[in-house]
């Protein structure tokens, strides 16, 4: 097992270097300059531009800038944002809990609804429910997030008035972030009703962000469960007279879970992709919308630092999934 984990970790190193290089290069390929983009019609005097570029080290050759950046990263310094002058890491840490909170809720939503739906569809294969579930999940999987989000807002928030339109908390409540997780912070505060408000603000973004993973989980669970249910050992287990719950829950589900866990792990990456749109629609103050704005402002430090952090996290999650996978299925360890 240890050797398995070590091999996986050794694979992480080249990936990390790749991310460093890509996050650094990609934004520099986009036309536009982080300084000039700040100026409107008036523009900026060439001398002043040269001075600012020199101050930010942008006048150096690219490889020098990159080596310089590497040196700073090695010391744990991701630089300061060009537009706000705040350290990138500080901004990231302030915004990241919101993304995690939303992502976790979406994942839980996907699993809570997707897993049982998949099992149910597998068990009732060919039934109306099965067909309905499969076509719904196909629709869910191909749902354009932006459109879906606005649709839900218009229906539930504007027409019916059931849920808030956007944000994390009603403006009425005054909460200083301690953990950055609104559900926890609002529970810790003395503001009555804040927790409920935080929960209500989570509903629509969770549903929107969770829709695609939900569809994926449901479909994956169904097909994997179908395969497992027809295995000999299920018949054996049943023949032994085990309770139906043990047959399905222990023998069936555990084996069917292996591909499902992989898929859930892979969803973390696409979840962050979906978060970009979801956060923009719901004015959710997370890292995804922060990165989008950094692209518009050509805020190089924010982008390269932010992408590096997010990509590293996705990588770590995938590593964790690999390890978990190994635990669920001993054959993979070899």
């Amino acid at each position: 097992m240890l050797r398995f984990i070590l091999t996986r970790i050794s694979l992480v190193v080249p990936t990390f270097i790749g991310i460093l290089l890509l996050s650094f290069m990609l934004i520099r390929l986009v036309p536009g300059d982080p300084i000039e983009v700040r100026f409107g019609e008036r523009g900026i005097a060439p001398e002043r531009l040269a001075q600012l570029r020199a101050e930010m080290g942008l006048d150096q050759p690219l490889y020098v800038q990159f080596l310089d950046y590497l040196g700073h990263v090695a010391r744990g310094d991701l630089g300061v944002s060009i537009s706000t002058k705040n350290p990138v890491l500080t901004e990231f840490l302030a915004l990241f809990p919101a993304t995690v909170e939303l992502g976790l809720c979406a994942m839980i939503f996907a699993i809570v609804f997707g897993l049982p739906a998949g099992v149910f569809a597998a068990v009732k294969r060919g039934s109306v429910f099965d067909h309905a579930l499969m076509s719904t999940s196909l629709t869910g999987f191909s749902m354009p997030i932006f459109w879906w989000g606005l649709l839900l807002i218009l229906l539930f928030s504007v027409q019916l008035g059931w849920t808030p339109v956007s944000g994390r908390l009603a403006a009425l409540y005054y909460i200083e972030p301690t953990t950055g997780f609104m559900l926890i912070d609002s529970l810790l505060s003395d503001e009555k009703g804040a927790f409920l408000s935080a929960l209500r603000h989570l509903i629509l973004p969770t549903v929107v962000l969770g829709t695609i993973p939900l569809a994926v989980v449901a479909r994956m669970t169904r097909s994997s469960m179908l395969e497992v249910l027809n295995e000999d050992y299920i018949r054996t287990a049943r023949a032994k007279g085990l309770s139906s719950f043990r047959v399905i829950g222990i023998h069936g589900l555990r084996n069917a879970m292996i591909p499902v866990v992989t898929v859930i792990g892979l969803q973390v990456g696409s979840l962050l992709g979906g978060a970009i749109l979801t956060e923009s629609i719901f004015a959710w103050p997370g890292v995804a919308s922060w990165l989008i704005e950094a692209i518009n402002r050509r805020d190089y430090p924010v982008l390269q630092g932010g992408v590096l952090l997010v990509a590293s996290l996705v990588m770590l999650v995938n590593l964790a999934v690999d390890v978990l996978y190994g635990m669920l299925n001993p054959r993979i360890r070899r």
Binding site: K85, V112, S244
Partner: protein, 549 residues
């Protein structure tokens, strides 16, 4: 297989957790869906379009950031809310010397600065705060000059370093600004966002603590609201300043709920989650007009969108060619199709809301035959080939430069002029246009200080016609420039008005631009909001605003 399915179903029925999980979750979700309070009494929520860079308008450059700092600060003089009129602020009155080079401000007494967890002011506002604020921008050896990047763009853009000779404290409540030249727009510059007054005492206290950058993040000012809380990309919270020298504002609390998407901002206004929103989608305007919960306020913006002919390049060095093209383009069609009710056709280079706008100037009529005749006279009976630049981005004065370029291209083809549409990335576009690489280029302007000089001299004066300057027609016409310079030298508004009116006549006659349009700014505001005024500068200000209960 059939038998299997039956057994499997039986199994499922016996697996209570799997079966009931979605059911439980649905019930929980449903329980949450209950109507909750939208906003507290006396709290106005403004759905702002983005996060500010910081809370110091000396170093900010965006309207978003200026809006966020405005509740906290005052200037020596200010713009009257909803107009371009300069009114007293922290100065009760001021005098201008005969030669127009010395401005003496008499400061208001008993003005209190805000306090926060880390700072309690021990004295009232006085002349030291003015020196502190201006010297920070002006003097490289000021302890705060380098703090937060040390870039004072507007201070530089308004040519203050060149203009200022000295700032002196005469006594605690009198400050004297001496200028190198008589410059009438100076007083309007002093009302701009960059000229807001910070607390010198707060500056000293932060310096001692070793956290000078906090001055730009946790602002202390004299303004109508005190800063309470900022969470990036989420909200900014202010509370009414009970000790405000202008009287406590009617609102108890002001919240900026940061909402980047205009469709979502609109949904929030409809749902009552916010009261005022900026920058609506033009497509939503008809629905907003009909909405009984919303007042759709509008005002012609302080801006101009134009097409500049590069007069240093053939054939645009010939006035007849410029006039001909002005007649060949169907302006009304462009304004109707592209601005869709959110713009008015422009005649002069300044908007009609600006003082000294010359109403008697007539626009060049749309007349293809006349245009052809003029071209033939100028030696181009069969037209010519040219480029036609279009910005790649939407600007406040021009919602779609590409579409406008296409319409112009079609119009010009009718008089034999073959125009090739050219575009670059925005920063690059502006740089190349200012370098004068184009023959014809679209651009525009949004006013900074409500002074005609800020349009005419900046966009059409000789000083700006140098390569890299903001006069992209590169049009330096002495009789026109003389009028502008004369208008700078006198503080007499009647005299200045006359000079600018004349300048507009010369402009139309010489036709360095095809004036496209002035855009109209729309602000959807909920019915319960009282006395919100649309700012000609595109700002959003809440000091006199109230909510009907």
């Amino acid at each position: 297989m059939g038998g299997y399915r039956e057994t499997n179903e039986a199994i499922f029925e016996e697996a209570p957790l799997i079966r009931t999980l979605p059911l439980l979750a649905t019930v929980a979700l449903g329980a949450l869906v209950m109507a909750g309070p939208a906003a507290a009494k006396g709290t106005l929520v403004y759905c702002s379009e983005g996060s500010p860079e910081n809370f110091n308008p000396q170093i900010n450059t965006t309207g978003t950031s200026f809006d966020a700092a405005k509740p906290v600060y005052n200037g020596i003089v200010e713009f009257e809310r909803g107009s371009t009129k300069v009114i007293p602020g922290l100065a009760e009155s001021w005098t201008v010397s005969e030669d127009g080079k010395t401005y003496t401000f008499n400061l208001r007494k008993g003005v209190k600065f805000h306090s926060n967890a880390n700072f309690k002011p021990t004295r009232d506002f006085n002349a030291d705060d003015i020196l502190f604020s201006f010297n920070r921008m002006w003097k490289a050896d000021h302890p705060y000059h380098k703090v937060s990047g040390g870039s004072y763009d507007y201070f530089g853009d308004m040519d203050m370093p060149k203009l200022l000779k000295s700032i002196t404290k005469v006594d605690d409540y009198t400050v004297k600004f001496e200028l190198n030249d008589a410059e009438a727009p100076f007083i309007a510059n002093m009302a701009m966002d960059f000229a807001q007054i910070l607390s010198a005492e707060y500056g000293d206290a932060l310096l001692k603590k070793g956290t000078p950058e906090k001055i730009d993040q946790e602002p202390i000012g004299t303004g109508p609201f005190t800063f309470v809380q900022y969470q990036k990309d989420a909200l900014i919270r202010y509370r009414a300043n009970d000790q405000y020298w202008g009287g406590r504002p009617p609102l108890d609390q002001l919240v900026f709920s940061i909402t980047k998407d205009p469709a979502v901002r609109y949904a929030k206004v409809k749902a009552g989650e916010c009261h005022v929103m900026p920058y609506p989608n033009p497509a939503d305007l008809p629905k907003m007009r009909e909405d009984k919960d919303i007042n759709l306020l509008s005002q012609e913006g302080l801006n101009i969108g134009y097409l500049a002919y590069n007069v240093t390049k053939k054939p645009f060095d010939d006035k007849r060619v410029r006039k001909a093209l002005n007649m060949a383009i169907d302006k009304k069609a462009i304004v109707d199709a592209v601005y869709q009710g959110a713009g008015v056709a422009a005649i002069n280079p300044i908007p009609p809301t600006l003082w000294s706008y010359n109403k008697s100037v007539k626009d060049d009529p749309y007349n293809v035959e006349e245009a052809k005749k003029l071209l033939a006279e100028a030696g181009y009976p069969n037209g010519f080939e040219t480029d036609l630049w279009a910005m790649p981005v939407q600007r406040p004065y021009n919602p779609n430069a590409q579409r406008i370029a296409e319409m112009m291209q079609a119009d010009l083809a009718k008089v034999g002029v073959k125009a090739k549409i050219v575009s670059y990335e925005w920063g690059e576009y502006r740089k190349r246009a200012q370098a004068g690489e184009h023959q014809m280029a679209q651009l525009g302007w949004t006013g900074d200080n409500g002074d005609p000089d800020n349009f005419l001299y900046v966009l059409l004066g000789c000083a700006a016609a140098r390569p890299g300057g903001s006069n992209i027609a590169k049009w330096c016409y002495k009789p026109f420039d003389d009028l502008l310079v004369a208008a700078k030298r006198t503080a007499d508004v009647a005299e200045r008005t006359k000079l600018y009116e004349q300048a507009q006549v010369v402009f139309k006659e010489e036709a360095p631009w095809f004036t496209i349009a002035h855009s109209v700014v729309y602000k959807p505001v909920r019915k319960e909001v009282v006395d919100f005024r649309v700012s000609p500068f595109g700002r959003h200000q809440f000091d006199g605003v109230d909510l009907k209960q």
